[in-house]
Symmetry: C3
Subunit: 150 residues, 3 copies
């Protein structure tokens, strides 16, 4: 069956091995976040990594600043008795030079109050990362998170 393939339907993709590495990278990354391990989570950024959100005036720059900021956020959430789960999904990925990948994905946060309350959707976002491979691991060089509806 002949099919006219519009050129625009042929996006760059990445190989299965890299894609599996990246899915596992994000799996660990968001589990660390939700376990309150801010420092280990921030270690998954490069030393000079950047973390920006469309709801904040300034990006956080550098692993230490990113860790400190997330630590404050996590402590506040824990004090309020909330458990959050950051889900990532719909990960597109394309090569961005050697040993680097540009991704875009959905990140949706679910929240459950401790003590028997109901789970609910807390927030829906999209995120764009530049990931770099150093040695046998992946690191976030740059992240931009956009909250839906803002």
């Amino acid at each position: 069956m002949p099919v006219t393939e519009p050129a625009r339907t042929r996006p760059p993709t990445i190989d299965a091995r890299t894609y599996a590495e990246i899915l596992q990278f994000y799996a660990r990354h968001f589990q660390l976040l939700d376990e309150g391990r801010a420092e280990e989570w921030a270690d998954q950024f490069t030393e000079d990594g950047e973390f920006a959100q469309n709801v904040k005036p300034e990006p956080r720059r550098g692993r230490s600043a990113i860790a400190a900021s997330m630590r404050r956020g996590m402590d506040s959430i824990a004090e309020r008795g909330l458990v959050r789960r950051h889900w990532y999904g719909a990960v597109t990925a394309e090569p961005a030079g050697e040993d680097a990948v540009r991704t875009r994905y959905y990140a949706t946060v679910f929240e459950t109050p401790r003590g028997g309350g109901e789970a609910r959707v807390y927030l829906s976002t999209t995120a764009e990362d530049v990931l770099e491979r150093h040695g046998d691991g992946w690191f976030v060089r740059r992240r931009h998170v956009a909250h839906d509806g803002t």
Copy 2:
């Protein structure tokens, strides 16, 4: 440890390379949908593709009809000030002849009102696709979406 394996627990699966291609295909597909790019989204169907839903009397047939119908839906959603995110998950896949794959997956839609409202679950569905590979890309030959609870 000997284990009696019931024959029914051995489903057909697809190789890692094809599975990674298909996950990336869906990632791009649903991102296009949620960005309001109805025509590019419809280009991911074959020319003679079919899109059916259990809540509609008739399937849409052909890339142009599918694009036109989705364009109307997207414009209506945008007019109402809503941002939707179509998540796909739990993708099973089995070979369906050469260069074709039959998939079944969950598709859940989250919705956030523009202007600061809360995100919520809008809809939970399951979907069944026949995907075909043409050249270096994948296309939807046939899709059937079933809304939960109907």
Copy 3:
């Protein structure tokens, strides 16, 4: 660009082929669960498999006990006119001896009432499995599910 990689950022991961198998295993596993096929779902445990939850005093032990318990739960849900979808996500995986893998993942349940009601988040959990490969299939040797907020 030199990067100091903290040793703790190098987690064990598994190869792309095994990861794709496991994602497909879970996809089928949770689809069976949500289709009310308790026996086929339980067949994906080893004969001597174990299923524990932090909200139950005792784990279920053995495929038959697991199937019988799930059958009762499913029938109760169906009687109440509910459709549930178990999503899995953020799957980390590491080798656990030959032909075995230890996973941790998020499992979130969405619920839709039959007859036109709205979908909602029912429950957010994390799960830890030991999976074993026997022949060409994967099986759950041990699962522990922890409900968020309890």
